[in-house]
């Protein structure tokens, strides 16, 4: 278990991270999510021991490691640039840690091959220079290089950000499987919400040096605690102007305490204007007209003008052509799906 206690990190006058308190459980896939410059990498580097907190403590299994140099920590890192040693072969890169620890030559070799096969690197590739590998292969070398040391904690700093979209998805899955197989506590830093949601057991959302929310992916997504989290994750409809125009129709909302209202776009249902619909008591309905649509194959995304506000909705089924030409639609939304903020 990793515990951050009142961690503050300052550079000169600039406070990069302020008073962080959270825990990461054993075997957990834990993600630091946030925009660039939010302090997530700084926090990560403090955990790895590449920088030291100005105040506060970091504990691993109850042991204070705050001042321990990185090489003494059982925490291995995969760098954003992979930081592979360009002068060494793939094998030498992976074997670097064990060699430093003076493992026996044979066990190094065995272990390197074992890890290599786990990350899908074949024997031929082991003898290549790292510059001869593709981006995805380089990333796997970087992970293997960290994993071969059998660390209790694996730390990854935006490891997928240099890769193309398809590879990212593929490697994301591999990463998840790998983590499940190895069962290693993993801290993952990313600014990509999709990565965070798909990979993580829990996510900490960072903003301006502070954690806005910690929770499981669905908690973060469905019960975003702050407007920042809500906006940073997922696509939203801004409902504030609709609510203020028709306060009575949103009777279930707490309009005295909250002033900003959002809903996830997939919560919005659309039906042809002519169709009738049995509304539940928590649901509201408006009429609008389709002004644009984007076809994604898997689904279609519509832009609908409702009372002067543009709302978005997705539908798995393609609407009838005549309906799009007809343009007029009804939209239905449950008040329970509305997120409210001050």
């Amino acid at each position: 278990m990793i515990t951050f206690e009142n961690i503050t990190i300052k550079y000169d006058d600039f406070t990069a991270v302020e008073n962080l308190n959270f825990e990461v459980k054993d075997g957990e896939f834990f993600t630091f999510l946030g925009p660039s410059g939010c302090g997530k990498t700084t926090t990560l580097r403090a955990l790895v021991g590449l920088n030291y907190p100005t105040s506060g403590r970091i504990l691993v299994n109850g042991k204070d490691i705050t001042k321990l140099p990185t090489e003494k920590r059982d925490i291995k890192m995969v760098f954003q640039s992979y930081a592979l040693f360009p002068t060494m072969t793939v094998f030498e890169n992976i074997a670097f840690g064990p060699k430093v620890k003076k493992w026996k030559k044979q066990s190094i070799e065995g272990k390197v091959h074992e890890i290599a096969s786990k990350v899908d690197l074949d024997v031929n590739q082991l003898q290549k220079k790292v510059s001869e590998l593709s981006g995805g292969q380089q990333q796997r070398v970087a992970i293997a290089r960290a994993l071969v040391n059998e660390p209790s904690i694996l730390v990854l700093d935006e490891p997928l950000s240099n890769l193309d979209a398809k590879l990212r998805v593929q490697l994301r899955n591999e990463l998840k499987h790998l983590q499940k197989n190895v069962g290693i506590t993993t801290i993952y830093v990313t600014h990509d919400q999709e990565e965070a949601l798909t990979l993580s057991d829990r996510i900490a959302v960072f903003n301006k040096g502070k954690i806005e929310q910690i929770g499981t992916p669905d908690e973060i997504y469905e019960q975003s605690l702050s407007e920042f989290v809500c906006n940073f994750i997922g696509d939203n409809n801004q409902l504030t102007s609709l609510v203020s125009k028709y306060p009575d129709r949103f009777s279930l909302l707490n309009q005295t305490d909250f002033s900003k209202f959002y809903s996830r776009i997939e919560r919005l249902k659309i039906i042809p204007e002519s169709d009738s619909f049995d509304m539940a008591s928590d649901e509201v309905m408006f009429e609008g007209e389709i002004i644009d649509f984007e076809y994604y194959g898997l689904y279609t995304k519509y832009s609908i003008m409702v009372e002067g506000t543009t709302l978005h909705a997705v539908s798995k089924e393609k609407l009838q052509k005549d309906m799009i030409e007809n343009k007029k639609v009804k939209i239905i939304l449950s008040q329970n799906d509305i997120l409210q903020y001050k």
Binding site: E71, F85, P86, V100, K129, S131
Partner: protein, 573 residues
């Protein structure tokens, strides 16, 4: 085969014209005059004769000199790299207190060299120097001429030849991806392991190039062995110079030079092969700049600081000695004893007794500027062609441009002046001897190999994608070169430009054979003022010229390249 064909019709006419120009230049100025000299040596009498070789083989001194030169070259490869790497580590890698002050002294070899530098070391370590006096006080039986022979030569040259390390190894060090160091640290490596397994291997290509240079410098060492070597340690180049100056012994000079050339070729071939093996491509796309490492081990940290400051003292003393003694009278200079009334500015007044005294400076500045500018432009062009067309022709060009490394500059000068004093068909029957051009050609020629090596490594360090990106955005090759590639390699280019510039200013060996009699360059003026035939205060004048040159060189370096702000901004950007 296909790619070759498709390449052919893509070659643009300018490239073809430039290629012809290069081929002509190389043949006319690098191959023709030198081959001419060699031909004269062996076929001078009309028939092939090995007599000069036999003469040299009979001479123990000649053989000894050759062996000494080779020995010196090997020693320097070890010591210069050792010291050079240390300097770079102390200024760029380790967190050393006062590194900025250290840096200034470590950079001092850039602003003075050759005879001047030897004079500085002589003032410090010579018979009347402070070091010797100190040793004599410790031990009255100490031999006051202890500073001579192989040890002294190797010592002086070790510290004299680190300029390139400071320039080129430092920049290589700065381009290391700091994340690799952090990664190694994270994987549990000690500071020592990181240094030896991660940092130094990354510097290997640069170290290889520097090793070649150091070896060649050692092989052709001239002034240090003359000043400090004494009878027991003689090297080959001074001997070549003696023979080159005697018309009947010129053949011996050529043969000795050929021996130098052959050793050089062997070493270069070997080096270039291993250079290819040692190369790597940096794969980091998002580099983070290097952070200085504090040495964890307390004792080691103290030791490293001590070494850094001892080096500081070694590097500073000769410079200080030159500056201080340039303000003293000849008695103080020859006896080493300075009292308050030894100080005088007469030496400076004597040097600048007439307005005409600055004319040689200006002439050398113009030659220096033009020479280094043209040689840099020429080498950039060649390096660029070598990068985009890797074929037999460019590889031949690569080796041909190394020719000036195989021959001492004196022989090159003799070759040039003898060849071009009559109209030669290769240069369309132009006569160059006795014109301003010949010296300019000479300066260009002798600086080609070094400039080319550095330009090449700079070019090959440019990320291909950047070049492709520019082309993709519609820029033609020329525009891409000027606007995209050149700015990237500019720091390196400016560095080599200033080095060439500084090298040309005080040159004598080459200049004396080639200068236009009415335009006397600085090297000639200095030699005339300080040479043996001059009865005035030769050493004092020498010191004054050295100080002025140091100031001039510092100005050039800071204006063109070393401007601190320039370096610092580079580092960040």
């Amino acid at each position: 085969m296909n790619t070759l064909k498709s390449n052919w019709y893509r070659i643009n006419p300018i490239t073809v014209i430039l290629s012809f120009f290069i081929v002509w230049f190389v043949f006319a100025f690098l191959i023709y005059p030198n081959v001419n000299t060699i031909y004269e040596t062996f076929f001078g009498t009309g028939t092939f004769s090995l007599e000069p070789v036999e003469k040299l083989l009979r001479s123990d001194r000649a053989i000894g000199s050759i062996l000494n030169s080779i020995l010196l070259a090997f020693i320097l490869v070890v010591t210069v790299n050792l010291v050079g790497v240390s300097l770079v580590l102390f200024t760029n890698y380790f967190d050393i207190k006062g590194a900025n002050v250290l840096k200034i002294s470590y950079f001092s070899t850039l602003v003075y060299g050759g005879v001047a530098l030897n004079l500085g070391y002589k003032l410090v370590y010579g018979e009347n120097g402070p070091i010797t006096q100190f040793l004599l006080q410790l031990n009255p039986h100490w031999n006051d001429s202890w500073f001579s022979g192989l040890f002294a030569v190797a010592f002086v040259m070790t510290f004299a030849c680190t300029s390139n390390h400071m320039l080129f190894l430092s920049s290589a060090m700065r381009s290391i991806d700091y994340q690799t160091i952090e990664a190694a640290k994270n994987l549990g490596a000690s500071q020592f392991t990181i240094l030896t397994k991660v940092v130094l291997p990354t510097l290997k290509p640069t170290l290889f190039a520097l090793t070649i240079l150091t070896f060649l410098t050692g092989l052709s060492a001239t002034s240090a062995p003359l000043v400090f070597g004494g009878r027991e340690f003689e090297t080959i180049t001074p001997m070549i110079l003696t023979f080159a100056n005697s018309s009947s012994s010129k053949d011996l000079a050529t043969v000795l030079a050929l021996v130098l050339g052959i050793v050089t070729i062997i070493v270069l071939t070997f080096m270039i092969r291993s250079e290819e093996k040692g190369n790597y491509i940096s794969i980091s796309k998002t580099k983070t700049s290097i952070v200085k490492q504090k040495i964890n081990n307390k004792g080691l940290n103290v030791l490293v600081h001590i070494i850094a400051y001892v080096l500081f003292v070694i590097y500073s003393m000769p410079v200080l000695a030159i500056i201080i003694y340039s303000f003293t009278d000849s008695l103080a200079i020859s006896s080493g004893m300075i009292s308050l009334d030894s100080f005088t500015i007469d030496n400076y007044l004597l040097t600048f007794s007439s307005i005409e005294a600055i004319r040689p400076y200006l002439i050398s500045l113009v030659y220096g500027f033009l020479g280094s500018f043209i040689v840099v432009a020429f080498c950039l062009l060649c390096a660029y062609l070598m990068k985009i067309h890797n074929n037999l022709l460019t590889r031949t060009l690569d080796y041909s441009l190394m020719i000036p490394w195989f021959l001492p500059s004196t022989l090159i000068a003799v070759g040039l002046s003898v060849t071009f004093n009559t109209g030669q068909w290769v240069v369309f029957n132009q006569v160059f001897t006795g014109t301003l051009w010949l010296l300019l050609f000479g300066y260009i020629i002798v600086h080609i190999p070094f400039t080319l090596r550095i330009s090449k490594s700079a070019f090959f360090g440019v990320n291909q994608e950047v070049e492709d990106a520019a082309k993709n955005l519609g820029a033609n090759a020329f525009y891409t070169f000027i606007k995209v590639i050149l700015p990237i390699i500019m720091p390196t280019i400016l560095g080599i430009f200033s080095l060439n510039f500084i090298g040309i200013l005080p040159d004598y060996d080459l200049t004396v054979f080639l200068y236009h009699p009415l335009f006397e360059p600085l090297g000639i003026t200095i030699m005339n003022a300080t040479g043996n035939s001059a009865s005035a205060d030769t050493k004092a004048l020498n010191l004054v010229y050295t100080v002025i040159l140091m100031i001039l060189n510092t100005l050039i370096l800071t204006t063109v390249y070393g401007n601190w702000r320039f370096i610092r901004k580079r580092k960040r950007g």
